[in-house]
């Protein structure tokens, strides 16, 4: 069982946004998708979910030698959602069952049970009766993850699940993804702009560089300062803070010369003396 993406190319109108992307996600793996704004992270995710046509290559869910369409196996958490009416959280999560409910049917007891189970897996049973628009951003994100889980997917695809979240909710979402992949055996693919979280939680990272190259790297080894600098076009310093149970990663931007002609050249690295703790690499 795995998500298989081979030589994928995708785009809008006359413009090919991404090309030549190949990777796999196995059950139990948490894979991050990193890249600067506009590089095509959302496009890639939409493309592999079948929400836009492929230009080239192939995407499938491989299971027991068969190649199944990804859409039927995947739960999707979009980057933004606009729920237009004050549906209750229970009703929103139940919508995740749409694939399992007949066209002219209503959700049955099995669907209700799956929705309740999804709320439990995410730990938000207490929100079930609340109207969705009244929730905080962090709570909404958890509800959308529960909605994706209600479909009982093998693969979870999330488009920037931590965007707009405060630190605590960011960690809560990452913890949840870690648990869903490691403990419940889901294949999880998420895009993000937080490389620290990737170093901290993910098994692998798929890097989409601004020049169009895509590289599947191990974490933390593959996500080094050179890769990060190339990814975001900014010199970055990667540090590991010692003196903690599990030392957290810190990524600090070096001085950016930006577009201003008078700007000074960036200092190569933050001085050792400035860092509160010792750096583990270099």
């Amino acid at each position: 069982m795995s998500l298989v993406v081979r030589d994928l190319a995708c785009g809008y109108g006359g413009r090919t946004v991404i090309a030549g992307v190949s990777f796999q996600v196995q059950p139990g793996e948490l894979v991050a998708l990193l890249g600067p704004n506009g590089v095509g992270k959302s496009t890639l995710l939409r493309c592999l979910l079948g929400l836009m046509p492929l230009r080239r290559g192939e995407v499938h869910w491989s299971e027991g030698g068969r190649r199944l369409p990804v859409a039927g196996m995947a739960g999707y958490v979009p980057q933004v959602t606009a729920v237009p009416f004050a549906y209750s959280v229970r009703d929103v999560v139940l919508m995740g069952r749409a694939r399992h409910v007949g066209l002219f049917a209503l959700p049955g007891p099995r669907d209700q049970a799956a929705a309740a189970a999804a709320l439990r897996r995410v730990g938000i049973e207490h929100l079930a009766g609340r109207p969705f628009p009244a929730l905080s951003g962090g709570e909404r994100q958890l509800v959308l993850i529960a909605r994706a889980l209600a479909a009982e997917p093998r693969l979870l695809v999330l488009d920037e699940p931590e965007a707009h979240l405060d630190l605590r909710h960011r960690l809560a979402v990452m913890d949840l993804l870690r648990r869903l992949s490691r403990d419940e055996g889901l294949a999880v693919l998420f895009s993000t702009h937080h490389p620290e979280d990737v170093l901290w939680y993910a098994d692998r990272a798929l890097l989409l560089f601004p020049d169009g190259e895509a590289r599947d790297v191990p974490v933390p080894g593959g996500l080094d300062e050179d890769a990060l600098a190339r990814l975001y076009g900014v010199p970055l310093v990667r540090m590991r803070l010692n003196g903690w149970g599990t030392p957290p990663w810190v990524i600090v931007p070096g001085r950016w010369q930006g577009h201003s002609p008078e700007a000074h050249a960036p200092e190569a690295h933050a001085s050792e003396a400035d860092a509160p703790e010792e750096r583990s690499r270099r």
Partner: protein, 339 residues
């Protein structure tokens, strides 16, 4: 969202249409005691019989006037509530009604043209239904673009179609004979159930059965459609196909209703909001609620239309006069949040 799911709301929805129907059969300018109405309707089983001299008149009042009229009001109102709620769902916009795609104006043009050609007759009504259905084909042709938000494109196409049909209605009025045709057209356009016949009841009933079956069948799917196309597709719902199915169902209902009653505004806009206040926004509950509320509302408005004054008040005027303040009250209560 008061009364959200308690037994009281079920009791309300069970008794409301029955009470409104009874009111509609008992009330009228020709005085018939309620007991006598029951006697006539049950074929003499219960209730006091009318005086033998009055019997033919009483029979005529009940069977050729009040009953078809009440049934038509119930069916038309139910269809408007249902289609308004469905459109607000698929357009994710609480300010639209079933008129938004121009089918109402198209049907009205067809009937008005029919009045000019054949006089107010079933032939005029059938022409109206035909133009109404043709109006949907026009919308389909106009919205065949791949760019942009399909909802916005549809609504703009509806604006264009409405403008076109309104201009054609004005043209028909301009060339109509001001002595007899023009008053007939003007009065018909304001909406009335006074000419209700069992033929109307059969046509509107058939359309409601067809369209209503589709909409009630899809009612849970409307929740998913209201999230927007991309999310609906990600959840496994073919948004474009289902949207056209909903539009087709509404078009069938609206064209039959407008051809039978003329243009009656506001019901499809306001009834879904009242429904949301009573049962919440979930379409599985909202659609049946909007249907019952719409039918009951229309029955009551029609009773007012024919009893308030000696001359009958056109329904379109009454629904707007009742609907506008009601809408204002809702606006002030919800602050435009429409939740």
């Amino acid at each position: 969202m008061l009364l959200r799911r308690g037994p009281s709301v079920v009791a309300l929805f069970a008794t409301l249409p029955v009470a409104a129907l009874a009111l509609s059969l008992f009330a009228g300018r020709y005085p018939v005691p309620p007991g006598t109405v029951v006697h006539v309707l049950t074929g003499g089983l219960i209730g006091p019989a009318p005086a033998p001299a009055d019997a033919p008149v009483v029979h005529a009042v009940i069977f050729t006037q009040r009953l078809p009229r009440a049934l038509l009001a119930l069916l038309t109102g139910a269809g408007m509530g249902l289609s308004g709620a469905a459109y607000q769902g698929i357009f994710r916009n609480p300010l639209v009604s079933q008129d938004v795609l121009g089918v109402t104006q198209g049907t009205a043009f067809g009937v008005v043209l029919g009045i000019l050609l054949f006089g107010l007759s079933p032939a005029a009504q059938l022409l109206g239904i035909a133009v109404g259905l043709g109006s949907m084909a026009l919308i389909m042709a106009m919205s065949r673009t791949r760019a942009g938000d399909p909802r916005l494109v549809l609504i703009l196409a509806g604006v264009i179609a409405s403008a076109l049909w309104s201009a054609l209605i004005a043209l028909v009025k301009y060339v109509a004979d001001p002595n007899d045709e023009l008053p007939a057209i003007t009065y018909w356009l304001m909406g009335s159930l006074s000419a209700a016949s069992y033929g109307d009841v059969a046509r509107v009933g058939t359309a409601l059965a067809l369209g209503g079956a589709v909409l009630l069948g899809l009612r849970w799917r409307l929740n998913v459609l209201s999230l927007g196309d991309e999310e609906a597709r990600a959840l496994g719902v073919p948004a474009t196909v289902l949207r056209w199915l909903v539009i087709a169902a509404v078009t069938v209902m609206v064209s039959a209703e407008v051809a039978a009653t003329g243009v009656i505004g506001w019901v499809g806009l306001i009834v879904p909001h009242i429904g949301r206040m009573l049962v919440g926004p979930e379409h599985g509950r909202l659609l049946p609620a909007a249907m019952i509320l719409g039918g009951s509302f229309m029955l009551v408005v029609d009773v007012l239309a024919r009893t308030l004054t000696a001359a009958e008040i056109p329904l379109g005027i009454l629904t707007a006069m009742l609907g506008a303040p009601l809408f204002l009250a809702l606006l002030q209560r919800t602050g435009g949040g429409w939740r």
